[in-house]
Amino acid sequence: MVYITPILALTLTILTGMLLFSFLGVDPVEALRNFFIVPINNQYGATELLVKATPLILCAIGLSVGFRANVWNIGAEGQLTVGAIFGGALFVYFPETESVFMLPAMILLGAIGGALWAAIPAFLKTRFNANEILTSLMLVYVATLLLSLLVHGPFRDPDGYNFPESKIFTDSATMPILLEGTRLHFGSIIALLAVLTTWIMLAKTLIGFQVKVIGTAPKAGAYAGFSQKKIIWFSLLFGGAMAGLAGISEVSGPVGQLLPSISPGYGFTAIIVAFLGRLHPVGIIFAGLLMALTYLGGETAQINLGMPVAVTGVFQGMVLFYLLACDVFVNYRFQLNRFGKAA
């Protein structure tokens, strides 16, 4: 049942989506074709799917560890942004460097930046008991403004006609392209490695076990001597580092420079990806690809059918709604009582 509900939720989303399309005056079958098939029926489209899925999977895999431990980090968008700032800063200050260590150093800094940003809610939670949902979310706004501040000021390209943009990253600061003629880049490999690492960590290591125990049975965890604070720190730092990797892989990849806005809300959509993937590393890959498809589908439907791009957001929200609703079948067993009424 655990693995059937995502499919059930998807089916319901698509049915509701068809209703929505007819309501918008678009032929529902044609709309669905444009949303889910046209974007990926050629090689370029298929690689674009991987490009879009990369930041989603990276953020979601990090969040999933926290969600398993009941640590509600919803600020992945901010951690992504700070990761991009940290990694990007290296290029901004050393634009001439052609060292082969440039990109690895940027990736490392990206992870550190994301982790540092997530360390703030971790510290405030463990030291002052401040709710991590609210603090991590507030920090998203702060991070976005910080990025805006930097690209309007110290990070701005001096030869950039005063546009709020950094220099365009040189080759040594850019993710290598994996497939000639596409935008598929090394970030996808990082995402895959992150998924594998997380899988092993959750399945085979003590810290992974502690995460799962603290999440499902906090009292049992405490009795076993597992430190709740340690898990809060670990899952936030881990989630932040993953989101930071997503950030640097975006600016060193498809974006190619630091801009005031570097993400269409990947950090938030990743919350849906994590749940839709059942907080499981493999599930998150599938869910990430699917949510990436809604971004591409939204663009295709906008170009071909003139549909509003906001449909993407509606689809994404709807999937999560239906999934949570269908989970009642996972958590409870329905049976008819004597009065013939569901109980």
């Binding site: 509600w72 919803i74 405030l124 002052f128 008991n129 401040a130 709710n131 949902i133 609210l134 603090t135 979310l137 507030m138 920090l139 706004y141 702060v142 403004l145 910080l146 805006s148 501040l149 309007h152 000021g153 938030f268 959509t269 919350i271 849906i272 749940f275 509003p308 906001a310 449909v311 993407t312 957001g313 509606v314 689809f315 994404q316 929200g317 709807m318 999560l320 709604f321 949570l324 609703a325 989970d327 009642v328 958590n331 409870y332 109980a343």
Partner: protein, 309 residues
């Protein structure tokens, strides 16, 4: 006047900045008092904002527009209720879903209305009274929703602490098993509390798109729904303090706007960060005292009620 002529306009703008927070905060307070944590305020406010704006543009009737905003918020809250109360879904996850869904659906509804102007909500004007210096425009020159926001705070305070129904609602929030065992409908009462929260968030959103900045823009709440959530912790679940907190945050928002306008030697982005940083600081100061939070927070907040369990 003697250099203080800016005081009245500043107070007036603080009031408009605080009012959406008062509505959203007081609505969520009632929801939380019944033991339900609805993190979807942002989504409900956006639904209210866009519905009210569209209604106002199409009909020109502001009473209808505010009512439509409230209904839209209630509709969103109803979805939340069905999921968390009837289908017993996780309240945190459902609240997040409500926010994400609200951002999407409001952008879809409002896409043809972005940038369209609308007349701001009319302000009270009583000949003689409104013209009084200083206190005139502040006390007698507001729009109807500002007065309503104060009324709602006092009404909620009276309802929660002076009526039997309010006592029952608090009982449901503090011990749903006990309330259930003496025959109260926990789910029914929680539905009502959630719907009230939705209506208030909807009106808060309507205030944003009709009065604070009379226009519609995607995601125009800019985190106010989350600030409202923090407000309740700040207020330790007391209605009067929600009002105080909302005006404090309204004050910070306006202060930074005026500082920007006055050309303060700080980048505008730093000033724009202030309301968010202030929220974190306040949250930290209040949460530090764990026992105080535990004493005031509804004991069953966020917990799923299942009568058979």
């Amino acid at each position: 006047m003697n250099g203080f002529e800016w005081v009245v306009p500043v107070i007036l703008t603080v009031i408009t900045a605080a009012t959406p927070l008062v509505f959203a905060g007081i609505g969520e307070l009632v929801t939380e008092k019944a033991g339900v944590l609805n993190l979807g305020i942002e989504g409900m406010m956006l639904a209210g904002a866009v519905t009210a704006f569209v209604t106002a543009t199409l009909t020109g009737n502001y009473i209808l527009a505010v009512a439509a905003g409230a209904l839209a918020g209630m509709f969103m809250a109803f979805l939340f209720g069905v999921l968390t109360l009837s289908l017993m879904a996780n309240q945190v996850a459902t609240g997040l879903a409500l926010t994400l869904f609200g951002i999407g659906i409001s952008a879809l509804i409002g896409q043809d209305f972005v940038g369209e102007p609308v007349k701001a909500l009319e302000k009270l004007n009583i000949a003689g009274l409104t013209d009084l210096p200083v206190i005139g425009p502040i006390l007698f020159g507001q729009d109807a929703l500002v007065y309503l926001s104060f009324f709602v705070v006092f009404a909620v305070s009276w309802f929660l602490f002076k009526t039997k129904a309010g006592l029952i609602l608090r009982a449901v929030g503090d011990s749903h098993d006990a309330a259930h065992s003496i025959g109260y409908s926990v789910i029914g009462i929680r539905y009502l509390a959630v719907l009230f929260g939705g209506a208030m968030s909807g009106i808060g959103g309507a205030y944003l798109s009709l009065a604070y900045t009379p226009m519609w823009a995607e995601n125009m709440t800019a985190g106010r729904g989350w600030i409202a959530l923090a407000l309740i912790v700040f207020a330790t679940w007391k209605p009067g303090l929600v009002l105080v907190g909302a005006y404090m945050f309204g004050g910070i928002t306006i202060l930074q706007l005026h500082a920007q306008a006055a050309g303060l030697d700080l980048p505008s982005q730093v000033l724009s960060m202030l309301p968010y940083i202030a929220t974190i600081v306040v949250l930290v100061i209040i949460s530090k005292d764990e026992s105080r939070i535990r004493k005031h927070a509804p004991a069953c907040i966020g917990k799923i009620f299942h009568p058979a369990a």
